[in-house]
Amino acid sequence: MTAPPSARSREGGAAPAPKPIPGGRRMRLIGLVRKESLQILRDPSSISIAFVLPVILLLLFGFGISLDAKHVPVALVIENPTSETASFAGSLIGSRYLAPVIFSHRRQAEEAMEEHRVDAMVVLRADFARRLWSPAGAPIQVIVNGTDANTGRIIGGYMDGVWQGWLEQRALEQGRTLDPPVVAEQRVWFNAEVRSRNFLVPGLIAIIMTLIGTLLTALVVAREWERGTMEALMVTPVRIGEILLGKLIPYFVLGMGGMAISTAMAVWVFDVPFRGSFAVLLVVSALFMITALGMGLLISTVVRSQFVAGQVAIVVAFLPAFILSGFIFDIASMPPVVRAITHVIPARYFVSSLQTLFLAGTVWPIVLSDGAALALMATIFLGLTRRKSRKSLE
């Protein structure tokens, strides 16, 4: 961050600075970095947010967030037990995703649904066996609790699998093969077992980095404004660019340390494959870290109060990183206006690059466009912070 000479001389006029001595710039910067580093080291909460928090959050999210429903409790209503219903029940019990509980009356199953003891009910009516032989076939009624729409849909998919499996098995027992005219072969690229953890853990790193970069910086710098130490710094010969850089460097190092821990945990604790290049990961993470830090600096410079800075950081950085970044909710399915908003969320680009670098490899079109967007945002945030800080002294 070298300022153009003209800007420098203007600043020199604003602050009553003595003529800079040669090499003083580097000395001043080292001094500032030392001061900030000491401040971080003395405050246990900063250290814990950078190193303990990533570990806790990754464990928490990694184990806590899962979209893979397993052993879903399901009520199976058999109104009239026959060998046919027994064979269907066998298929249902054999499913590793569903845990059936058998009832003989529909009413009991409905009660279990209402009391949330089961998430779905499957009804085989009294005339099930008879209608199996009728031309129209027998209906198998499945009712899911739609309150959790996503789980409801997943259960519907599982039931589809059970039903198909049962039909095939039945056909085999009758000495036929059941070949539908068209057979779909499903190939899930990059994540063959469709583990939600492989998808969530990389995105999670972006959220943790947002926390470290934006929230922590916003709070720390806002504190300096509140206490007036920022103004005190400004009347020293130190230039505004140097003050900002002095703040950025220690937190950048802290954030990259958190990044390294998170990546190591993703690979070794959560078994997420890493298929891209580490060098590219380093560059993209550095760009994101600078953007997040820039955002934190800007927030604190504009609001200058810890309470408001904390709230603003949560609202403009953390929650969007959670909801608007593609970390868990699919951006392509959002309404156009919201989709447009996601373009100004830095985490969006980082999440996309992380998911690709971990699961798919180094896909240059994605990495380059994400990197360019992050570099642009970093420039804007730092530029705005610089302007805002300077103005305040006039």
Partner: protein
Amino acid sequence: MWNRIGALIAKEFVAVWSDKKSRFVIIVPPIVQLLVFGYAATFDVDHVATAIYNEDGGLAARELVARFEGSPTFDVVARLDHEAEIAEVVDPKIASLVVHVGETFSRDLIAHRPARVQLIVDGRESNTALIILGYASRIIAEFNQEWLSLHGEPQPPASLVVRAWFNPNLLSRWFIVPGIVALLTLVVTTVVTALTVARERELGTFEQLLVTPFRPFEILVGKAVPPLVIGLVGGSVIILIAVLWFKVPFRGELALLYAGLFVYILAVIGVGLMISSISRTQQQAILGAFLFIVPAVILSGFATPIANMPPIIQDVTLANPMRYFLIIVRGIFLEGLPAPLVYDQLWPMALIAVLSLSGAAWLFRHRLG
């Protein structure tokens, strides 16, 4: 005694409301968040970017492809001519799904050999991938059924009829928006509460308060009422927007919902005050609030079900007030949850509230020094 507490409450309100920025932060961001997240937080999938790789010029293949083109779920964005192009559209996320119809598709179909269609889906977003596969399989199943009946072949002996209670179209928004009532109430209440004691500790006025004739209980009430009011008002606004703007059905009793909201906010205030009493500075209080909010949201079932978590973590969620309130708020909105089932969720929250509030009152005096 109540006069004194009244004065204390008034003072606390002034402390929060006198700052124009704090006032803004309590009101505007939650509403913006509700609107943005109400629209953004969805597990529903539509407009799936689809690429078609059809090697077969036959009629049946074109018929199948036309079903994908005609479906509102799939947007065909590319047509491929070579195997290598599949990676070219999937890797950079140009297409999330590639439908590959092989050369012999139409011939196999007519010759009663299984005609194969490859569905290639981008697994980077695993949930979306599963949903896309579900939709694509349904299109193929419909194609099969019509093909069978058109050619006079027997239908399968049993068919699956899937219905959903409470949310017939399985809209994620009906699940997420009531959840946001719990989420935003938690965030606003915790942050406001966490700062109250910490701010005074930083200024040194809390020690002054402790040497006045106020008993810890009175200070507790004074500190708890303003965030309780803020939380209730905030929660009510979000409930109104959920019903009037997002048109989420409200099927239960409002009184039960407010009973839940009241106890929920008390429990959150207790935790917030405990954080505030432990903190030496406002900064620590905000970080502490964060260290509570983030796990509380993740381990609540807000985004993903508690049932999917490992058993040990499921046990941990029992200490989380948001877990219980989510069941109440979603249940009352969508299912018209009856009173006995609401009470099942209410008493654990009440227990958390009693424990955390008394813990906070104790910490007022014992954190000194």
